[in-house]
Subunit: 417 residues, 2 copies
Amino acid sequence: MTTILRGNIIHAPSLGRLETLERGYLVLEDGKIQGLYSVLPEAYRSLHVEDYGEGLILQSFADMHLHAPQYAMAGMGMDLPLLEWLDTYTFPAEARYADLDYARRAYRKLAADLIACGTTRVAMFSTLHTDATLILMEELERSGVTGYVGKVNMDRNGGKNLQETTEESVSETLRWLDQCHFEHIKPILTPRFTPSCTDALMEQLGRIAAERGLYVQSHLSENRGEMAWVRELCPDCGQYWETYAKHGLWKSHTIMAHCVHSDEREQRAMAEAEVLAVHCADSNVSLCSGTAPVREMLERGVWVALGSDVAGGAILGMNDAITASIRASKIKSMETGAAFLTVPEGYYLGTTAGHRYFGAGAGFAAGDRLHAIVVDESRFPEPVRALSLSERLERALYLMDSRDIRAVYSDGRKVLG
Amino acid sequence: MTTILRGNIIHAPSLGRLETLERGYLVLEDGKIQGLYSVLPEAYRSLHVEDYGEGLILQSFADMHLHAPQYAMAGMGMDLPLLEWLDTYTFPAEARYADLDYARRAYRKLAADLIACGTTRVAMFSTLHTDATLILMEELERSGVTGYVGKVNMDRNGGKNLQETTEESVSETLRWLDQCHFEHIKPILTPRFTPSCTDALMEQLGRIAAERGLYVQSHLSENRGEMAWVRELCPDCGQYWETYAKHGLWKSHTIMAHCVHSDEREQRAMAEAEVLAVHCADSNVSLCSGTAPVREMLERGVWVALGSDVAGGAILGMNDAITASIRASKIKSMETGAAFLTVPEGYYLGTTAGHRYFGAGAGFAAGDRLHAIVVDESRFPEPVRALSLSERLERALYLMDSRDIRAVYSDGRKVLG
C-alpha cells in the first residue's frame, strides 16, 4: 500500500539543521517513509497523490512530559509555587480519577485535543488509579496518540485521598502491567518523584523495571524547595539523581522531567546513562522553578526533548512549548550569555529529539513510520513579501493552533483530516 | 434605548481587586453602563435580556502599544536583537505600505482579528505613510476598534525606503491631521523613537502637540544598545526620557512603550508627568531586551498598562499579553524577589489600566460606554469540581483565543456576536 503526500516539507534531522523541500513528495509504503522527492519517481507517477497544495508538511510533535489528569485544571492555580500547588490543586484534582466515568470523559477530551494540536507521541503520567490509567491508555489508542503512559506510584506525602501503601502500589502496578495490551500505548514505570516514594517502593520498582525490561519516568531537580526536601528524605544520597540511581531506576531511556537546577555532575550522570532530560519551559516559569540550563545540557551531550508539563504548563500545544523554550532560553541567555535556542533548534527538540525515544531516526527518515502534521497558513496575515520555508516554519510555530492543523499522521496512519 | 446583558460578570476596578457577580445583570442606557445587579430592578423586568447563560462577561482588552504594519510579519525574525530586527525585518516590511491596496487588505485583516480576540481599544503605530495611515483608521473604525493611531515620524536612520525629510514629516503630519475625521479613532503624534527623529523634527512635533492638544506616543529604554545610541545622538540629555521632555513631548498621557531599563529617576519622571508606561512582556523577552521592572514602577506610582507590541511580540490576543506579563514578572521575581503579578493584577493592567487612558472609570463603571467581551468556556476541559469565578477568569486568560469569544461590545455597541 503506497501513499504519496505532496506539500512543503520541513524537517529537522539534527539539532539546528532544517531540511526543506518546496512542493515536494513524501512517499510511504505501508505507513513507512520510503523517501522524499523533489520530482516524483517514475514508478509512482500513476498513483494518487494527496496534494496539500501550499500546506506545510511538518514533523508531528512529541510531548515527553505531561500529566493527563491535570489537563482538567490547565491554567489554574498558577499563582502558587510547586509544593503548595501540588497540595492545593493537583493532588485533590488527581483524586477525582477514582471516578471512572469522569476519567473516561476527561481522557477522551484530552486524547482528541492532543491529536488536534499535532501531538502524536507522548510520555505521560496518569494518576495512581489502575483502572483510570487503563481507560486513559484506551482513549489514547482510540484517538491515534502513541507512546508511553505510567500509572503513578506514590506511597507517601500524597494526603489521604491520593496515596497507596507500598504493597498496594506494587500489586496495583503488577495488575496494571498485566492488563496493558495496547498496540500503540505502552506502560512505563512512574514513581512520581522521590518525596512521593519510599525507598522500599523504589527498590521494588527497580526490580520490576529490570525483570520486565521497562522504561522509567519521573521528576528531577525542578525546584529548590523540592531539592532540599529530597536531601532531607535521603541523607545518604549526595544528589537528587542518586535517589533514583541507587534503586536501578537511572538507566538508558529513563525520562527525567525538568532538570532546572541540575549541576554539571548531575548533567554528566544523565549523559552517561542516556537519561532523557525533558525541558518544560512554561511550567518552570509559571511555578517559579527557574529556567533550565538547556544549552549547557546540550553541550554536555545530554539528550534533551520538550514537554508541555500540562498542567504545570497551561498549554497543550507543543508549538507553544517550543516557543516557550525559545523564550526561556533568551532569559537564560540574558543572565549567562549562553546562546539562546534558535527556531530550528526548538523545532528539533519538540520533534526529532522526542521521536528518537521511540526508535525513530533523523527527521523524516526512511524506514520510519510517519508522524507528521499538515499546517494550513490561510488564517495567518498576508506577508509583505514571499517567505522562505524556514520563515514559514517560524511563523507557524509562533502563531498556529489546532485550527491551522489540517491533517495529522500518527504511526503511518492518517488520524485527523 | 436600554440593553440588558446577563452572565457571570468579572471586572477589575483597581489593581489586584476583582469584583464578580454570578449570573448577574449589566444594564446599559444608550450604550452607557447604568448599573450592575444581582437581581434585576423592577423597572427593567419587562425588557428583553441578552442572556449569555454561563458565559463570562469580562472587560474587553486595551492594547496600548502595537505596530499595525508589523502584523504581517508576526512570528518572524525572532532570532534577532532589536536594532538588527528593525533593519532586517521591520523597516522593509513597513516600506511595503506605500502600496495602498496592500495596506487596505492587511489593515482590514488586522482590524477584524483585533475585534475577534477582544481588543476594543488601542494605541497604535502606523507607518510614515499618510494615506495608508488614513486607511488603517478607516478599517479600525469600520470593525469597531476604537482609540488612537499615529502616522509615524522618522527623518533619520530609516534607510532609503522608509525615511522622510524633516519638512515632509511635518507637512505630511499636518495633512494627515487635517484628514482625521473619524468618530472612534483619533490621531496621536508618533515620533518613532529618538534615533529616528532629529531634534528639529521633535521640536516641531512638540509645537504641534501643544497647539492642537494632541497626545504623544513613542518608545523608551527598551534595549541597552538603543539606549547607548540615544546617549550618543543626544549628548545634552542625561537620560533617554529627556530627549522627549526637552521638546515638550513628555506630558500627561504621553505613552512610552517598554521602559525595560528605566531607573528610579526615569520612573519618577514618568509618575510626575502622568506618562503611561506600556509593558510589552513578550516582545521584551523575544528581542532579548530584558524584563521590565513592573512591580517597581507600580510601587512608585507609575501608570502602567499592557501592549502586545505586535510584531516584536508575536501574539495579538491580549489575554496572552496578560499571561506573558505574569510570566515575565515571575522571572523578575526570581531575580530580585519582587512580588510577581497576580492574575487579578494582570487582568487589571490589560483592561482597566488601559481603558483609563480614554477617560474610563474603575472596571465596569456607571456612566462609561461598555467595552466588554463574552467568553464561552465550552471548549475548555471539564473541571474536577465547581470553579469560582476568579478561577474561571484565570483559566480563560491562560487558555482562550478568538474561538472562545462569543460577543464583543465596543463603545457601547455590539460589534461581534
